[in-house]
């Protein structure tokens, strides 16, 4: 009897896996994406072969996100978990532990050239007590479109590894989407080229645009650090205001994920008008101007251009 049960369950495993690999009507692959931008990439690559759960949704801040037990349940049931890596998701380690997930956790920044954090004003031995260890690198790699293409390739590879039967589909989807990314990349470059060089310094709330700066040649200054978790000190804000007054910045923006108060204060003290909202670490809601990654890049560059040409 025992042997028979064992045999039966072994059979059912074989049956399940053969359905999984052979049939197009198989259960969709369960994919968990850590935040909205990765979720958009995953949907573009996975199409209807995947069932997507995005942990940190639109306008959500992954730096300070608090995962719930329901997130741990999603994670435990996932076939593939897609994350940014480079310490972007502060919650990741505890969530992986709590969920005991057996899925492969794929860091999509693998293969990009990470930018070193140049600066750490809340560094070692500071009395402020607000510093945190965010690792050596700036995690916001998705702010350059050539990096986004690496994310997309990594996603296709991860999906192929988990669902070989769908691999051709994933590769074709990735290729089509990459072509759209290339077109958007050219658009951003052209837009930046049309901005006079001496006007290419702008201010945002937190340090999320390092890769954008590196790829496209704008300079971003921010009162808050790489993570929104570390608050700006009064001295940081004073130094930034001085820099703006010295006429080094031509526009100032709020971000969808951070409290606008600090940016509004700097705007008020320097007389520069807030030029709109940039989407840094999260997409907008579906009815907003940045509900997909490509729309986010379009929205950000046109917002920047409009504010600078109006200044």
């Amino acid at each position: 009897m025992l042997r028979k049960i064992g045999f039966a369950s072994a059979m059912s495993v074989i049956t399940l896996s053969s359905i999984w690999s052979a049939s197009a009507s198989a259960e969709p692959m369960k994919v968990v994406a850590s935040f909205s931008i990765i979720g958009d990439f995953a949907q573009n690559v996975g199409g209807d072969r995947i069932e997507l759960t995005t942990l940190v949704g639109s306008d959500g801040d992954a730096h300070v996100y608090e995962p719930s037990p329901a997130d741990a349940v999603s994670m435990s049931k996932a076939n593939v978990v897609l994350v940014n890596g480079l310490n972007f998701e502060g919650f990741l380690k505890r969530l992986v532990e709590a969920s005991a997930t057996k899925a492969s956790v794929v860091e999509l920044t693998k293969g990009i050239e990470p930018l070193k954090m140049q600066e750490d004003e809340h560094g070692h031995g500071e009395a402020s007590g607000h510093g945190h260890d965010h690792g050596e690198f700036d995690p916001h790699a998705f702010q350059s479109i050539s990096n986004a293409k690496v994310y997309v390739k990594n996603i296709a590879d991860a999906f192929c590894a988990a669902d070989a039967a769908g691999c051709d589909t994933y590769k074709a989807n990735a290729e089509a989407y990459t072509a759209k990314l290339d077109a958007e990349d050219a658009e951003v470059k052209a837009a930046v080229a049309s901005i006079p060089e001496e006007k290419r310094t702008i201010i945002t709330s937190h340090d999320a645009f390092g890769y954008f700066e590196h790829a496209y040649g704008l300079t971003f200054l921010a009162p808050e650090g790489i993570s929104t978790e570390a608050e700006a000190s009064a001295a940081d804000v004073a130094a930034l205001i001085k820099q703006v007054r010295d006429d080094k910045a031509s526009a100032i923006f709020v971000e969808n994920i951070t409290n606008p108060r600090l940016v509004e204060q700097i705007a008020g003290e320097t007389g520069i008008k807030v030029g709109g909202t940039l989407y840094s670490d999260a997409l907008s809601k579906a009815d907003g101007p940045a509900s997909t990654y490509i729309d986010m890049m379009k929205n950000n560059i046109s917002t920047i251009k409009a504010a600078i040409s109006g200044s």
């Binding site: 037990p69 709590a98 140049q118 402020s128 606008p260 108060r261």
Partner: protein, 397 residues
């Protein structure tokens, strides 16, 4: 990306850090009050060695701050709150912080007032509620460590058994029941720095029980919970009603998850309820084998919480699965009959160990948190009752 400080100085900081010889150190301390005597003991959780004993005016309930640098000894019958420096502090490097370890000491500052009850820490602003006056004293942990007095006071309309939470520039405090001040509060009132009321009262009859988890605060009411969070510099408060599928009951004690965002509340005498305010099904009821004595969350292994039941068992709850997944017999039965302040076990988690006080046997039981097996007992004179644990690992330079 130029974030105001030069790359050169950042490089020199990195170089200095890598040259320094760092040593990893772990320290955990238990602070244990007695059920009948006016004393708090400080014990090394790893060796069981008693480090110090502090006399208080009356038997104390203990609250540790979020940072673990201070332990508040609330003496309801002594009309005072004493503060102990735990002696363990962490530098500012997140998980891999620096640790500094000194002797624990009673601080040269106390907060006097009639019948202190609840202590709530929110980001280092600690609100002490004095039932006998209906007053809140808000203290800043960093100031308290330097022996400085309360930074501000907020008065409610009348003496009552209440609670308050400091939230940035605002204070959330209970609104007493005017007709029957002996009964539980009827809501939450928000005041700003100037003491002016902000918005209407947030109705919450039979208010008792409060906890925070991440950026959320939950407050238990007769028919559900108030969920408060800071939004654009102001408190935003929503009501989360109990699910209609729950049996009749309510929470009167809440604890907040660490690492995962959820709340655990009592619900009737023999159950607890897992509350996930963001989920569609926000409430999951977990029945217990007998009546409940005490419950805590595991601040290190986010997946677990523990409930001590009157049959002498420590029950381990898997908060992801929403069920009890292990039980361990630790003590003789402790009946819940009789007064709430009878000597009964309490639980604390100290690193890799779960500690359970056994006041009638004068010991602290210790349990290995990874294997969920008993390890050595720690003997403590008298009736060890309330306990808190502080500590962690870090580097010493």
């Amino acid at each position: 990306m130029k974030h105001l400080l030069s790359a050169a100085s950042a490089l020199s900081i990195l170089a200095a850090a890598s040259l320094a010889h760092a040593e990893e150190k772990t320290a955990w301390r238990l602070f244990v009050s007695d059920q009948a005597a006016s004393v708090v003991h400080a014990i090394d959780a790893q060796t069981g060695e008693r480090l110090a004993s502090f006399d208080t005016k009356a038997p104390a309930s203990l609250y540790r701050s979020d940072s673990g640098r201070t332990v508040f000894a609330v003496q309801g019958k002594g009309d005072t709150v004493a503060v102990i420096s735990s002696g363990i502090a962490f530098g500012d490097h997140g998980d891999h912080g620096d640790i500094s370890v000194e002797a624990p000491r009673l601080l040269d500052v106390s907060f006097d007032g009639k019948k202190p009850s609840h202590v709530v820490d929110h980001g280092g602003d600690i609100a002490l509620f004095f039932d006998g006056e209906g007053k809140v004293r808000i203290v800043d942990e960093a100031n308290v460590l330097e022996g400085k007095p309360a930074i501000r006071e907020v008065a409610t309309a009348a003496p009552h058994h209440g609670v308050a939470i400091a939230m940035g520039d605002h204070v959330l405090a209970t609104e007493p029941n005017f007709e029957k001040p002996d009964e539980l509060p009827v809501g939450i009132t928000v005041t700003d720095r100037s003491g002016a009321k902000v918005g209407d009262i947030n109705t919450c009859p039979d208010l008792h029980g409060e906890a925070s988890s991440g950026n959320l605060i939950a407050i238990a009411c007769a028919k559900g919970l108030l969920i408060a969070r800071e939004q654009a510099g102001k408190p935003a408060i929503d009501f989360l009603p109990y699910d209609a599928t729950l049996p009749a009951g309510k929470s009167t004690t809440l604890v907040g998850g660490r690492g995962l965002q959820y709340f655990l509340g009592n619900y009737g005498p023999s159950a607890v309820v897992l509350i996930d305010p963001k989920a569609k099904e926000a409430f999951r009821l977990i029945d217990l084998p007998t009546r409940r004595v005490h419950f805590v969350v595991d601040p290190i292994r986010a997946k677990y919480a523990y409930v001590f039941t009157e049959d002498g068992n420590l029950q381990r709850i898997d908060v992801v699965a929403g069920k009890i997944d292990a039980a361990l017999k630790l003590t003789e039965p402790y009946s819940m009959d009789g007064h709430w302040s009878e000597p009964r076990p309490r639980i604390a988690v100290a690193g890799d160990r779960i500690i359970v006080s056994d006041p009638l046997r004068s010991v602290l039981h210790t349990v290995d948190a990874s294997t969920f097996e008993r390890t050595a007992d720690i003997a403590v004179e008298g009736k060890p009752f309330n306990l808190v644990a502080v500590g962690g690992s870090g580097e010493t330079h």
